[in-house]
Symmetry: D2
Subunit: 445 residues, 4 copies
């Protein structure tokens, strides 16, 4: 975790204190359920809740260090915590964790942390979607050139661009919800998942109180395909951030200048070149996407644990659990702010549409010729030669616009009127259905 | 695609012939929809369907080569196909592909191919699940040792092991259905997705006829986050195959010998060592899982196309589209057959449970001591020392079973009766709830 | 392997015929060495070489099918081959493969194939380097704007850009040579590498004849860290291809137009838009880089085989061995041709340098102010405000060039003469050391 | 960075303090070189060295926070540092960083940090190699069964196993040295690498003083193929750690018990099962390997920066620079300690060799039959049927050893004497050449 790419809310989820609180809650809930099933005395369950709860409530960094100290001897984190907890509970502590195995606590805790993290990530996605929607509607009729292969294609609207990203983030939201669902399970099933020493009612109780579902078959651990699917979803979301960031980087480049990240008063772009205003946020987001994506394959490698479990997944998750969620959370909020404050230059967009002399209207002219009865192959050839003549003279003295080339070409002029060509070259043609596309995405807006 | 890891049904989906058939179907459906909207003459749509359909129906390898030849000149695959098709349709061919862009055809076709592939993959998962269910129920009460960290933990049942994998494949089935849903969309929206030259009714018609949904916002292409999510799901499924394959590899190893891949008459395990019977299928599946997983990150890198699209995704998909689905399809069927025919050795499982002198029952004895009023820490220490005494003498003259060590330990003997210890060491204890766990997975079975 | 991304020379390396030839050569060389050590009769070795050699020389597709048929029974590829070979050799065939294990043949063969593949890849890199060198020297003094963050920075030369890529490919060449060295080892060490049944002199002989080194410790297999390092090197090279391809994609984009992939007569860029000329080669290369990179992690996952070996690496290598080398080979040759024929537009480069009103010279002006005794912070502030005034008025009626803004600023005008400013804005300033940088890369050129 | 997987020496390399010290050193060296070239006054260079040096020497956390505060305004880390530094130097600070660009400092600093990290990693590899060598020689004649596919193959020695890993780490050492060489370059070349404002002598001086080489062509940044190659090497090394860790995990599993991680007094293996001694170190190493491998592809994605540079690599490197080196460093030292203290059980190894009734000697018997004039196919069939008869009766009342089956088989008995069979089954046969193999690895030892 790199502090500069972290928001405190998400960091807190992964701190020792939150983890110990969740561990305690699981133990206390399990003890209460065991009291209900008659496995532990009711007073013991009460003592665990009360004395243990007090100890947790008063927990300080010194306690965290004390637990670490016990762990250095036992080399076992859960036993270290239970030993510390027992110091606060007294003799009834022998009813804590009864018949349970460490993973019952660890994996259920991880499920809680990942659901907490998911909820923050959902907020981040919502912020991105809100920004995208607002700007999309604002610019729904702002004409801009559409580009394929980095080459001007046909006009579109800037709002439509943003609406496409909104639709992607709506899908990402659904993926994250599904991913949250994947990992929101609880296992209190004992050493190898047979419930040999544990009534399944205990698991059901803990799950219900923590907002989780019981894991159908746990084998000491909750199966890691769930976590693999979770981190894969984060990788897809990160890739969507990269797509939008890449768009902004392109729009801001010096030759395009159609949009620009907000440049703060006092901000400096380069130590050597005072004129620079760089799209550093979107470049940063591009890098953050790579990081999150890099965690996907390790998460998948974690699936094939040996037999009922091995602990190789643990070190991976200690890294990628916090790092993937913290990085993605930061990225989503950075992205939302960037879109919210993005400076948009509609005049420059308009200029760029026309900057190739009108060849961007070749598709509509192709249809005109087709409707005039010319075969696809002939029509294509005629238009291509006129477009190339326009294109190759850009910026040269003999430059003429595409329209003029067409009108001077006997294969065209005899068949199509100047008025028809002008109509074909009206950029508004391309905006006619933008509203109905936006309806698909936003509903009536 | 490596022929030895390919089933013909899946290969056929990716062959030129299937692709061209789908391309034609898209063009014919689009023309029919355009006839309905009045954009092309009804007779033209009919001619396209009939003459084009005849040409496609009669397509041979020579035609495929003819299209390749045209592509070598035009350097454009869809134009090459349309030119070939036009040779069969005649003048009405100018109404083919009217106002459409190549990606309308290519991306919608890919969606059809991926849904076809998904349907085959679902069959593969179903075969795996059927085999797992049958064997799980067959062995639901076959005791076997559960292992964590490769170390004997507590007994479980072999059927419960398999039920856990069944539950994972049930999740994988749901993931694949969701992934199929992701990519089952259609785009007939023109050069940059504005429907400038195309009525959205055309897209709706084509989508409906092909079993797809219209893509809400396409930008020349269907957005690649969908495909990233699709291939990520395949990676998760492949990882589940690896988990089960790893289990079989472990069970077959010479020291374990609890299960074995079917060894065919005439099969040879090693050119140098005639005694060998190797788990080659499950090792092969392990490798195939790596391959499928390797396609996940490239699919995610495909998301951030430039502006309305660049074509960098195309070469990636030409490789991973076929290879990921063909490999996974083969792996699923190989896995299903392997589980179906797996030789299981219950006697050896029973032997292994007892092979550590009974220490695998330490958990239940721990509970006995706890119930007898000893603190967790003390009870742990007492049992650990007796277990270690048993363990370290394994295979030595002074070996005594865990039970005997316990009974000889005054800290135990004074508190717990031999009968209680024997009851704690009854393996049936661990099978008591297997049936109810299987109910969670299979329903009543 | 996708035929459209494959050159026949590289494909041939991976075909059955080449593999069987190498297998035979290994067996024949081993038999000859065994004759020398007295392990097999000299006549037998001669018979193997001659009769076996004749059988191999006459090998047809029917033989390949015959071997496949035997393999379907034995489920072992090397045994199937040896059985087919024995049919041609007769009784002396019992001296073939004596004391060897299949991996002795398979792994040594893979080493030969990978060295053959490396040699072709080196040719590809050489072709790329030759093209880059020629174009770099051609354009060594062609001024063009340097860009960081996609924003104009300071002028540089187009040749210097290309020289940087040349230097990267020179490093890639060295990496490939090192990678070739990594995998060029031979193992003829028997079942688990103890040479129990084989004199090490046999391995030494085979290695020497095949241009390989003996593997110091083989364990049935040649250790897979070698192959992991090999495929990692291919991933780095592929990433270098992507960097150069990305540069070309940027240079060709409609707003930049500084260079363009060669557009063939008859070529069509888009089925819908006849004006399009797209950088499809460099986009394709971008995708191919993703594919090659996707093979790196599977190759690394192949390292941790179980004990002396498991066969999980095999399926991975059957895919990535051919696919990574074929794809990279194709990409290198495509790249070389693309650079060789790249159309370069120096006039447009010159235009772009000046298109931001001269702010790209802000760095040199900063130095002027610093030399004039102004603190870095103050100088930065002065220049930044003048650059921003220039920048934000681009394309507007009140636009004035950076030079004019500076001269109108009392903080500047009082300290620096117009002549000094003009000198600071001379693009030639940035080309002064290009030649000496090129010397670093090309030597005197 | 997860503290539990980090050694302080490596962490220190990546802390702010070390980074600022290196930044200062670069600036001071550059100023001194500029004094020599006459670009800055000699007194200024001296003031920078002395006053700046004093400020750096006295740097505290408060200074780090002060720099962070300036960065929050300027949004530029190097400018923030220079501003803080200027506060200590006074007016001469205008000669700091003169004509340089931030990347000159950042990239050269990263090179220094990565060489420092490499040196620590080399120590880690040396520790692993020392442990492996000692234990390999200790156990060079300890017989143990070799296994392929997890199935007993032929005997080998435990020392030979370890020698194979030693040889791999020797290769890893060479790879790390090459990787260190890759990234040990320096760039002081200005905004886009043209040396427009900087004499190359400055770069040469800084490089030489820092133990680096000048980067032949830098483009504001040092090209990232170098870093990709560096992190790829770390991924290969991590995979080698995983291979050795996997071996230990297998050897410790309950059915094998041939070796065991050292179990500390007071250590607890499981909260629920006091009998457990788990190979937690090697499982942990397996997970750490996944983490390091996960950084390889992001590093490769960093190569294709846009034009002369974009800053997307930066966030990736802020994560993987520290995390990959810290994790690998920790893993190497953990591995070295684990091998150093590994408990080895030669008696159990001897037991396991014989546990399959002698079938592990089938290869040598195959050679006997071949030498006796039987064809490979017939000999194979004869031996396979006797081996299977042995194998399938393991643990059953009718079990007979392989030797006895062979002697009772008329196809064998008529041709081979019992003495010859016994000789073929002598495990010492497999140790005969171990010493000479170890010579290949260790030289005379």
């Amino acid at each position: 975790m790199v502090p500069r790419y972290a928001r405190p809310q998400m960091v807190a989820i992964w701190q020792d204190l939150n983890r110990y609180r969740i561990w305690f809650e699981i133990e206390a809930l399990a003890a209460e359920a065991m009291a209900a099933t008659g496995d532990v005395p009711a007073e013991a369950a009460r003592a665990i809740r009360e004395k243990g709860g007090a100890r947790i409530a008063a927990m300080t960094e010194a306690d965290v260090e004390r637990i670490a100290e016990i762990e250095r001897e036992t080399r076992h984190d859960v036993i270290a915590f239970l030993t510390w907890l027992a110091e606060g509970i007294g003799p009834d502590s022998r009813f804590v964790h009864l018949g349970m195995t460490s993973s019952d606590v660890l994996d259920t805790c991880l499920a809680v942390q990942l659901t907490q993290a998911s909820d923050l990530l959902l907020e981040g996605i919502d912020a991105v979607m809100a920004a995208l929607k607002r700007r999309a509607i604002e610019h729904k009729l702002t004409p801009t050139i559409g580009r394929s292969h980095g080459i001007h294609a046909e006009p579109t609207s800037f709002g439509l661009k943003l609406a496409g990203h909104y639709a992607e983030f709506a899908r990402n939201r659904a993926r994250l919800l599904a991913a949250r669902e994947e990992i929101a399970t609880c296992a209190i099933s004992g050493a190898v998942g047979t419930f040999a020493h544990l009534d399944p009612a205990i698991e059901a109780h803990v799950a219900q109180k923590l907002g989780l579902r019981p894991e159908p078959v746990s084998t000491q651990v909750i199966p890691r395909d769930r976590h693999a699917a979770f981190f894969a979803a984060l990788g897809v979301i990160a890739s969507g951030i990269e797509r939008l960031a890449t768009e902004v980087r392109h729009l801001q480049r010096s030759e395009v200048r159609e949009a620009e990240e907000f440049f703060h008063p006092g901000q400096k772009g380069s130590s050597a070149m005072p004129h620079k205003r760089n799209p550093v946020l979107s470049e940063n987001l591009t890098g953050l996407a790579r990081i999150v994506r890099g965690y996907v394959v390790p998460a998948m490698e974690n699936v094939a644990l040996w037999h009922e479990r091995d602990i190789s997944h643990s070190s991976v998750e200690r890294v990628i659990g916090p790092d993937a969620t913290i990085t993605l959370d930061f990225a989503l909020h950075r992205l939302a702010g960037m879109i919210e404050k993005l400076t948009v230059y509609p005049e420059r967009m308009a200029e760029n549409i026309e900057s190739l002399g009108g060849v961007v209207h070749s598709g509509e002219v192709l249809l005109l010729l087709a409707r005039a009865g010319i075969s696809r192959e002939d029509a294509y050839r005629i238009i291509q030669r006129n477009a190339m003549a326009t294109w190759t003279a850009l910026g040269k003295p003999d430059f003429r616009r595409f329209r003029d080339h067409l009108l001077a070409d006997p294969d065209v002029a005899g068949r199509i009127s100047p008025e028809a060509i002008d109509a074909a070259m009206d950029p508004r043609l391309h905006l006619a259905r933008v509203d109905s596309i936006l309806d698909r995405v936003f509903g009536s807006h």
